[in-house]
Amino acid sequence: MCGTCGCHQPAEKEAGQSQRRRLEVDLDLFSLNNRYAQTNREYFARNSLLVLNLVSSPGAGKTRLLEETLKSQLGRIEVAVIEGDQQTRQDANRIEATGAHAVQINTGTGCHLDAHMVGHAMEDLGALRNGILYIENVGNLVCPANFDLGEAAKVVILSVTEGDDKPLKYPDMFAASRLMVINKTDLLPHVDFDVERCIEYARRINPSIEVIQLSATTGEGLPEWLDWLEGEYQSLVETRIGHLQQELDELRAQLEQG
């Protein structure tokens, strides 16, 4: 007789058994998040927003990379940032200092952003259309891999001070990302980091992952990153124009028939 968990209390069990029934179900625990993510994705599509989910371990240089990116893009394209951290508004303040609009989400005890939080953050970014929204996730190479925010792509940022075997240690994140940015390349002479080996590890998990090497501090490699962003945005705009054109044609045809 186990008094702690009640595993040997036949009288009580039998009494309840008559009304008990078994139900076969198939309920994905990520499905609630995925539903919110789908709503976000539709919203982003309607507003022609390229949304990138930036993920990394803490200190890989996400905020620094964003600062440099925004400095180059502001005035040419609409941009905004959603900042995710457990505590403080420090990152949002840094982003706002560049002149870009930033919304800070504090997850408190949470280790990742979820799609519901991002949906609410969009309430503060209602005016943002036809541009790029960067979501800087909580610094964590584990959990954000499993939570779709409705983004077009995850971009994983890895700094050379972290070790070239990170893709093997945290494979889920590298499997989920479209692009790997290897940051802080200016420090390569001072650290034991084999770039080729790192890329080989990442492609072992995700053969199609794209790679850009840069230093946000010195600006080396930054043009390639900016070109990648521009290319992604251009192709989103072309797809959007295609859809709008199709809708326009359908409506015109309807009008002419009527």
Partner: protein, 113 residues
Amino acid sequence: MHELSLCRSLIKQLEMQAQQQGFSRVHEIWLEVGPMSAVMPKSLEFAFSACSRGTLADGATLHIVEQPARARCGVCGEICTVSSRFDPCPNCAAEGLALLSGDGVAIKELEVE
């Protein structure tokens, strides 16, 4: 690492099911956990005991069924069982197999009243 938020999602799913399927208590839950879901069964049990308190699943037994992951080889098309993302294809030894299942967590069966 995100067991707590998954457990909140679990309780929410149970509450929705309770309305749809007409039950008010959950006694047992069979949960299928994939090896690539970044979920630790022990943490999940702990999080569940905290999250379920005062809900329709208070005191329910959580059965965690660990399921192997399945993947498809992009080179030869073989579908196989894998235990990690690095497993090569058992047929042609290619790497970088595309995961078909094993990164999810799903409720498969319930005992309710």
